[in-house]
Amino acid sequence: MHKSIDQINERIRDGTARVVTAEEMPAIVAELGEEGALKEVDVVTTGTFGAMCSSGAFLNFGHAEPPIRMERIWLNNVEAYGGLAAVDTYIGATQQSDTLEEQYGGAHVIEDLVAGKSVELRASSRGTDCYPRRTINTDLLLENFNQAIMCNPRNAYQRYNAAINSTDRILHTYMGVLLPNCGNVSFSGAGTLNPLSNDPGLRLIGSGVPIFLCGAQGMVIGEGTQHSPAGGYGTLMVTGNLKEMSQEYLRAATMNGYGVTLYVGLGIPLPVLDLEVVRATAVRDQDISVDIMDYGVPSRNRPALRKVTYAELRSGAVELNGEEIRTSSLSSFRKARQVANELKHWIERGSMQLALPTRPIDAKKSAKPMHQSIKGPRVLDIMDRQVVSIGENEEIRTAAKKLLKGDTNHLPVINGNNVLVGIVTTFDVSKAVANPGKAHLVKDIMKTKVITTTADEAVDIAVQKLEQHNISALPVVDSGHHVIAILTAMDLGKLFGGRWLK
């Protein structure tokens, strides 16, 4: 059996279409069987509501008198893009306010407009023969714009890896607050309700397909940026009229210590054309798995600690190495349901009809990492190879002499096998001299918890270590933990003037 999109639209127009949400579908398929479900259900609605940083809106202000060609543009002190003709701009969700920083950003401007609040436009220009005006300042409501078109380059991730933190300090990430020592797991995504998870082959979702976008009827433009469906991480580029949106499904947010983002409510109705659609829309939380990634590792290639399903994540706790770790969702499942239900009502009422893609989206693509033609500086480019170290059984006096002679403030301490075991600084030695006590040897006063770097580590990572631990030097060690050099705050000066560029 096969149903055509026209048959389904005819039922929608008649008000006889059977519409269910993607959350209801698995039970229907289990009860009626695949054939039965195909006969029974015409449309499956999906929904998701979560942080979607790659979002924003095109705005057209209309012309002022005398007219201006805006070059730099701010809305409530949030800078918007000035590279689009005279009176067009794009306000991006994550752009932060010049004054309020992460407490207010592009996402808040968009929410304020949708909520009916006025927003202050400030813009400047060089002035041209055809656009003589140099500055403009005015308060605007959403209705004052000719167009306000949401256009989000990357929304509706098919799934998203969960986050954990193995370090001993709290991390502030786009995945929220991650407690130290694997204290919690945060995740995002609507699982069973997610649009792309219900159409992983991208047979139904493609360019021109109508969608629910923040309460408005919008549409899919095509594949989203960083679209990577081969591994199960497809994304969509979507658009919709900001003037028809509702604050109920569009919320600005701040991930403290990270930045501003926009919570977007997005849903896609899927026509149940054949058995393949039935099977795809029967997907459950326990069928969709993601990795728990360690955000404590500051690299693009974060280690995955284990695989986990949305059913486990949503249960409130997951097990890792025999321990129960509590989970937090960043996206709202209640709101995702609300989106899928609202979309269901639209279709039942006949206010939205379905369409098949006018152009398909590639379902086999993989996103590539950045091509870096110039590598950033590494520790080996600026480290000081003339490192002076000291044995742990030397006298403190010897350490003092070495510090003076070596013209340094840090002495890595090594044991009999030349392995790094500690560090002493000018401060430690001065303290021992000023308060003579039982300590005679370097090992009595050294700090044994040494923060180190390696020769091939990126300088930016080493700098972050210096800042986080409030220290000014890092011993550079090889794989056997032997000291091969030292990186001090002074070496960072070599970065200026491009001397590290070879």
Binding site: V177, L179, S186, I325, R326, S329, S332, K335
Partner: protein, 128 residues
């Protein structure tokens, strides 16, 4: 009932809490305390019917006492029921009900405020 007790430690450090326990015979549960060389703040939990007794006793020893009727408060119009706070709270105050709406066990809250910075929607605040 929870009491927030503030005391100065300038004139020697009197063991206020221990003293009150001995004088009143009420077993006090200290849920959170920050005490440094000059002052201290402790959040204590006592049985409702003995709250007045403990409070008066603390005040007579020079402490400031405030009865806390509420735990952390949620601004319903800002909260989207994401659940970012759930795993952050050391006291398991937050949970999700069957409709995935955020639930609060306010009586468990010790007003540590950790959830406030974890909330992406600035929906959580300490009671005034």
């Amino acid at each position: 009932m929870k009491l927030l007790v503030n005391f100065s430690r300038k004139k020697g450090s009197k063991p206020i809490i221990a003293q009150v326990v001995r004088d009143t015979g009420v077993l006090i549960n200290v849920e959170r305390a920050v005490i440094d060389s000059s002052e201290g703040e402790a959040l204590i939990d006592v049985p409702d019917d003995q709250c007045r007794l403990v409070s008066d006793s603390m005040i007579s020893l020079g402490a400031n006492v405030r009865i806390l009727e509420h735990g952390i408060s949620v601004n319903e119009s800002e909260c989207v029921d994401c659940g970012a706070c759930v795993s952050i709270c050391p006291r398991e105050v937050f949970s999700m009900d069957k409709d995935w709406k955020l639930q609060l066990a306010e009586e468990r809250c010790v007003l540590c405020g950790k959830c406030i910075e974890a909330c992406p929607h600035q929906a959580l605040s300490l009671p005034l």
